[in-house]
């Protein structure tokens, strides 16, 4: 099979590492070759963060380059637009509609671009927008935005729902399993 390229993008501190851990765990248990590339350190402090997940029969590079991503899962609107050029023509963006102002916007140095998702849609980019923050709150924690988005992503993949839930059980701390399962299902089914 051709290698599938996924990017998880967002704002440092939003929990992209857990999302990639869950995805990686599921893909390995399904027998794929997998590479996940993370960035730790400075960019985790509220900066723009990117995680790459690639799977297939044999994966070499841990990175996804411009025009190669099959899926971009964005935890925030602006980040989806920032990384849109990484998407393959015909690729899919799944985006949390939450707006988190970056410091240049907070400072008033620039403005948060209004209607940025509409602009991407107008360019024929496939956008699946979801209010993951509200769904996460409904599941019991605003921190579960990451798992809500994994739930949404699961609709695009051929793996049974039970496999995803099992992966949650195996990667999430025991006391948060039920909440995260709820978040996953809310993302998948809304």
């Amino acid at each position: 099979m051709k290698t599938v390229n996924i990017m998880i993008v967002g704002v440092g501190g939003q929990g992209s590492l857990l999302a990639s851990k869950l995805l990686g765990h599921l893909l390995v248990s399904e027998g794929f070759d997998v590479k996940v590339s993370e960035v730790h350190g400075m960019s985790q402090r509220g900066g723009s963060v990117v995680t790459y997940v690639r799977y297939g029969d044999k994966v070499f590079s841990p990175l996804v380059s411009e025009g190669e991503a099959d899926y971009i899962i964005s935890f925030e609107k602006l980040e989806a637009a920032r990384h849109a050029s990484m998407l393959k023509i015909g690729g899919q963006i799944i985006v949390n509609t939450q707006q988190i102002d970056p410091m240049p916007v907070i400072n008033g140095a620039t403005e948060y671009p209004a209607d940025i998702l509409d602009e991407l849609k107008a360019k024929n980019i496939k956008i699946d927008a979801i209010d993951a923050l509200s769904l996460a709150r409904k599941a019991g924690s605003v921190k579960a935005v990451n798992i809500v988005l994994m739930g949404r992503l699961s609709n695009y993949f051929p793996f049974e729902k039970s496999l995803w839930l099992k992966a949650i059980e195996e990667t999430v701390a025991a006391k948060f399993i039920e909440m995260n399962k709820k978040a996953f299902l809310l993302g998948r089914e809304n």
């Binding site: 996940v36 350190g41 380059s65 190669e68 988190i100 916007v105 907070i106 008033g108």
Partner: protein
């Protein structure tokens, strides 16, 4: 067992299985998790040392004592550890010793982009470079055998895309290694001129033996394709990019033992192709070596020596191919990293910026105080340089700077290499004000304990360095503690110390807001009727505060109720939440 591991966890596993007994490190992105993962194994003694020089010497001591040992650091940490490294090359080891160093091309979390391969060549020690986690594991394990066989420390070099990339590793079992009997060998371990002169020829001979070893070393792999047009020499993560683009369509010499290089094999390989291309990030190490052998490789004439590569660079440069993409026309505002809501550094930085002081900075989360709107810093060089630097600055400028210059350094960075600079301030008497930003943790690298926190790497209680007493003992009489959430107190303290004609230390003390034991207070709220849109609160650069429809608003999901903005509001518009 098959596991998905980041390169750092894979190295830790390899060290563990090889029977490592002592691991000592100082945290540094992207190397930190090597030691964090090693600390999870009960059979291994692990510690955070105050700096990389100490860590390396601890590992040396353990090796001298007959136990397999390791240390890990980031590329700039290797500068600190260079002193023991160069002479350990002469002494060699008793039990195997491995130094892990992680480079950071593209500077994801570093102050420079130096290439650690230079060190292996300069110190004349072997260096391995894995290309994924499976190799990181295997190389770490095998490095001890090379170390013991050739009587040398062995370096393992990774980069961010190996250290922090997860790939599949098939792990095995630990082999226990007994501590060897101790024997005094002065001519081997005392490097005074008489003995060192005898050791240098042995080092040179060892390099020859290692070069022969490299020829048949299992870590160097050659793949031959039918195509005789180009042959590629590469290593580490670059190998993956080359394979991603070319698959099995070109011949590739993958170097796993980066120093010394397998000279004969490379010459033989080069002879088979019309074009010999070297793909390596940062400096032309392999390329220069091949050129010195009389070959004519293409390397930096094609590829940059700046930043990191990806498959798109290989495609663009060697195949002239670029993927089609679509993107928004609207410019996308940048999202630089920022200090967190409730960060204790923000309050003191606000005061320093307000007082328009010159601030010599250091390495850590608090380097982020350099960014708008605080713009609080004037310099950041390396670990500890703020304290040494302010002394030089004040010696140079005297009255021109002494009453309007301070330096800032974190608690962990102060333990790392700020102390010696402070001794210098006391000893050579400059009228300098040193502010220790004590947030009770090593923050930027992801919360590691340090000698001031009272806990060790395992989270167990440990001896706690008392910073006030330490500064007194180093010769500073004026030492005072402030709470950085109290802006008036901070301003008063800074002003008084600047006005005093003797060196002083201000400890700005409050734990990092991200620490688990630090409880957030309810989010503050803005009374929009009272808000006069003066934007005073915006001067803090707190990510939880923004302006909507001409009024300040506080994001309740981000605000931790630190109350610093409340102190800035002259109209009482910011109120405590419920």
């Amino acid at each position: 067992m098959k596991e998905l591991l980041i390169g750092n966890a894979a190295i830790a596993r390899g060290l563990y299985e090889a029977g490592v007994k002592v691991v000592s490190s100082y945290p540094g992105t992207p190397s930190t998790e090597i030691t964090e993962f090693a600390a999870k194994y009960d059979e291994v003694y692990c510690e955070w040392a105050p700096n990389e020089k100490v860590a390396t010497e601890v590992a040396f001591g353990a090796s001298l004592g007959g136990a397999r040992s390791a240390c890990a650091m980031k590329h700039v940490g290797l500068n600190v550890a260079a002193d023991p490294l160069f002479t350990m090359s002469y002494t060699g080891v008793r039990a195997g010793m491995v130094m892990c160093v992680a480079d950071d091309p593209a500077m994801h979390s570093s102050q420079n982009e130096q290439d650690s391969r230079h060190y292996a060549i300069a110190a004349k020690v072997p260096m391995l470079e894995p290309a994924d986690s499976a190799e990181a594991y295997a190389f770490a394990k095998a490095a001890f055998d090379i170390s013991e066989r050739f009587d040398t420390p062995v370096m393992i070099r990774t980069c961010t895309r190996i250290a922090h990339c997860q790939s599949i590793v098939e792990t095995g079992k630990r082999i226990e290694k007994e501590i060897t009997t101790y024997e005094k060998q002065p001519e081997k371990y005392i490097m005074m001129p008489g003995y060192a002169k005898k050791k240098h020829p042995i080092v040179e001979k060892r390099t020859k033996l290692l070069t022969e070893f490299a020829e048949n070393c299992a870590f160097n792999n050659v793949f031959f394709a039918d195509n005789t047009e180009i042959g590629i020499v590469t290593s580490g993560t670059c190998y993956q990019y080359v394979k991603e683009v070319f698959g099995d369509s070109v011949s590739v010499f993958k170097v796993g033992l980066i120093n010394p290089l397998p000279v004969k094999s490379l010459i033989e390989f080069a002879g088979k192709f019309k074009r010999l291309i070297v793909v390596e990030e940062l400096d032309p190490i392999i390329e220069t070596h091949l050129r010195n052998l009389g070959l004519n490789p293409e390397g930096k004439s094609l590829f940059s020596n700046i930043g990191e590569f990806s498959q798109s660079d290989i495609k663009r440069i060697l195949q002239n191919k670029i993927e089609n993409t679509v993107c928004a026309d609207t410019p996308i505002p940048g999202r630089p990293p920022v200090m967190c809501p409730g960060c204790p550094h923000r309050g003191i930085y606000y005061v320093l910026a307000k007082m328009k002081l010159t601030v010599l900075g250091d390495i850590g989360c608090y380097t982020l105080g350099a960014t708008p709107p605080l713009n609080a810093l004037d310099s950041t060089l390396c670990m500890g340089a703020s304290v040494s630097g302010i002394h030089g600055f004040n010696k140079a400028r005297g009255d021109l700077s002494e009453n309007k210059t301070v330096c800032v350094i974190g608690d962990s960075t102060f333990m790392h290499s700020g102390m010696t600079g402070l001794v210098n301030i006391a000893y050579n008497a400059s009228n300098s004000v040193v502010i220790i930003l004590d947030n009770s943790i090593t923050g930027m690298t992801g919360h590691q304990q340090n000698p001031t926190t009272g806990y060790n790497i395992k989270g167990d209680p440990a001896a706690k360095v008392n910073l006030e007493k330490l500064c007194n003992a180093l010769g500073i009489n004026r030492v005072r503690v402030v709470d950085p959430y109290d802006l008036a107190e901070c301003e008063r303290a800074v002003k008084e110390e600047l006005d005093t004609k003797e060196p002083s230390v201000i400890i700005s003390r409050r734990p990092c807001m991200l620490l688990k034991y630090v409880k957030a207070k309810p989010a503050l709220t803005v009374n929009s009727k009272k808000c006069k849109s003066c934007k005073s609160c915006m001067r803090l650069g707190c990510p939880a505060i923004s302006f909507k429809d001409g009024k300040a608003i506080i994001d309740a999901t981000q605000c931790v109720g630190c109350g610093v903005c409340e102190q800035l509001c002259r109209f009482d518009a910011i109120n405590e939440g419920e």
